[in-house]
């Protein structure tokens, strides 16, 4: 899922300066699962903003709403009749939702309440970590299912660098060396031969480096 984290409250307060009527818009998708931008977080953020403004003698009117998803035309259209009623919409979705709001409502101010962190897993309650970089050309068949692009600090393709020690990455003793993990896993699977092949230089054009990406499936279009 997409993992997000709420921005520092002062940063949010700063960007909303002068805004008198605001819709705080949650998302029931990924950011709700990672407890960053769902219904509950919308309620808390609205409360904090009202208290802050009240203390400053500049009250703000907050409306709260949470859509099933903010990355879908169908759900964002629910705001059609009301988007114009607010000075701004503070989206608690990931960056995708914020962008799509801005795309669909060109005359409404839109602000992000979250930092979109990464695509990752929920390891345990309160702990998330990155697994996929969305490079657009998956290499996991060659690396035992573990991603050197998302999980190696130098995006190495041909085995661990000289900074791999005791299973850890040189940049941080809390970060696992994914190449050690790949080595161990392929060894266990009796597939170490795979690591002898030279992995050729990657075509990054399917990644963000090729410009904004888009998929059109004619077979699914109505």
């Amino acid at each position: 899922m997409i993992v997000g984290q709420r921005k520092p409250i002062q940063e949010i307060i700063g960007m909303l300066k002068g805004i008198k009527k605001i819709l705080i818009l949650g998302c029931s998708g990924c950011v709700s699962v990672c407890s960053a931008g769902g219904e509950k977080e919308v309620e808390i953020l609205a409360l904090i903003l009202r208290i802050d403004r009240k203390k400053k003698g500049e009250p703000v009117e907050t409306m709260e709403k949470t859509l099933a998803r903010q990355c879908d035309t169908e759900y964002l259209e629910e705001l059609k009749g009301e988007a114009g009623n607010y000075d701004a919409i503070l989206s608690m979705a990931c960056g995708v939702g914020v962008n799509y709001l801005a795309d669909m409502y060109p005359t409404t101010l839109v602000f992000p309440a979250l930092n979109t962190s990464f695509m990752g897993v929920s390891e345990e309650q309160g702990v998330w970590s990155e697994r996929c970089a969305g490079c657009g050309d998956c290499v996991l068949d060659r690396t035992g299912g573990l991603c050197p692009i998302a999980r190696c600090s130098k995006r190495l393709f041909n085995g661990p660098c000289g900074g791999s020690q005791n299973g850890k990455c040189e940049i941080d003793p809390n970060v696992a060396c994914v190449w050690q993990l790949i080595y161990d896993r392929l060894k266990g699977l009796n597939q170490l031969e795979k690591l002898k092949e030279i992995f050729p230089i990657k075509d990054w054009s399917s990644s963000l480096h090729g410009g904004p990406r888009k998929i059109v499936r004619e077979d699914l279009k109505l």
Binding site: N158, P160, C161, G162, S164, I201
Partner: protein, 309 residues
């Protein structure tokens, strides 16, 4: 031998080769390079010029190499994948070759987290093995990475790589070197050798793969300048293995009111003499960064002088 490199000549002639290392300054003063170059002159066959080592902005390795050549020394120009994509690397290498650089050391590069611009983009368009492959193809196949023909004069580098026998997983270390050789490495400089036992075991694994017959392996050495430096290398530098006995020797010298730096040089000379005896070691790479003045003494005492050519 396309490169015309002195280092390549020394290695192919079967003589025990010696390279030094020079870190360019964090300013635009050419005199810093010249002064360090003069200290190394006559003691080494070539000098590595680092490419913003530890991700700290310094004078570029290519520009510094030119200054070194003006002093009559041969550079081993270092090129990392950290700061440049394939377009910039190939462009810089055409320039480096045109300027007369004959040796190229292909590295992935230290992560920028350790440097003075930790907020920079880490490019890493490719890794060191892919870099070797790309430059080898430019030289031998006369093609750019994209497959387009390189018309006219190709860069003709003697290609080098780095190897760290002390990193993990140990069993993969010799295999990784073998990959670098297949990719194009003709000579290899290792991480600093202090743990001779592990280095010997690594060399054994390298010989078992026959890799020592396909490339020239140069053992990396440096004299520990102080007890503090030895401790720092032991505890704070990832991928470095400094056994306690090194620190014990330095402390012993201090306690006996002897010169600790002198003992550091002794340690370095002892290591050189030991690695010389290991089958498949073709030379040493003396990395006395910011202590270049120690190199003549080390070379003399390790019986590495005079240098050929």
């Amino acid at each position: 031998m396309k490169s015309g490199s002195n280092l390549e000549k020394v290695l192919t002639s079967g003589q025990f080769a010696v390279t030094g290392e020079l870190g360019p300054p964090k300013n635009a003063d050419a005199e810093v390079i010249r002064t360090k170059a003069r200290l190394l002159k006559g003691c080494v066959d070539a000098v590595n010029i680092t490419d913003c080592q530890t991700a700290i902005v310094r004078m570029s390795s290519i520009a510094s190499s030119v200054i070194l050549m003006e002093e009559g020394l041969e550079p081993v120009t270092q090129m990392t994948c950290r700061d440049r994509n394939r377009i910039a690397i190939q462009s810089d290498l055409l320039g480096a070759s045109a300027l007369g650089m004959k040796n190229l050391l292909c590295l992935t590069g230290d992560h920028h987290k350790f440097g003075n611009h930790p907020n920079a983009v880490g490019v890493f368009d490719m890794d060191s093995i892919q870099l070797l492959q790309m430059v080898k193809n430019m030289r031998d196949e006369k093609v750019f990475q994209c497959g387009e023909e390189l018309k006219g004069t190709e860069p003709t580098f003697f290609l080098g790589a780095a190897a760290n026998p002390f990193a993990d997983p140990f069993e993969f270390r010799a295999l990784r070197l073998a990959k670098k050789v297949v990719a194009g490495a003709q000579f290899v400089q290792t991480q600093l050798v202090y743990n001779l036992e592990r280095f010997t075991a690594w060399m054994q694994a390298v010989r078992a793969l026959g890799v020592h017959e396909q490339c020239y392996i140069m053992a990396g050495v440096t004299p520990p300048k102080s007890i503090g430096m030895a401790k720092y290398m032991k505890n704070n530098v990832p991928g470095l293995d400094v056994p306690d006995e090194v620190i014990v020797r330095l402390k012993g010298a201090r306690d006996a009111k002897k010169d600790v730096q002198e003992e550091g040089i002794n340690i370095c000379v002892d290591i050189i003499n030991r690695v010389k005896e290991i089958e498949g070691v073709a030379g040493v790479h003396i990395m006395a960064i910011e202590w270049e003045s120690a190199v003549p003494e080390i070379a003399k005492r390790a019986d590495l002088l005079p240098r050929p050519g």
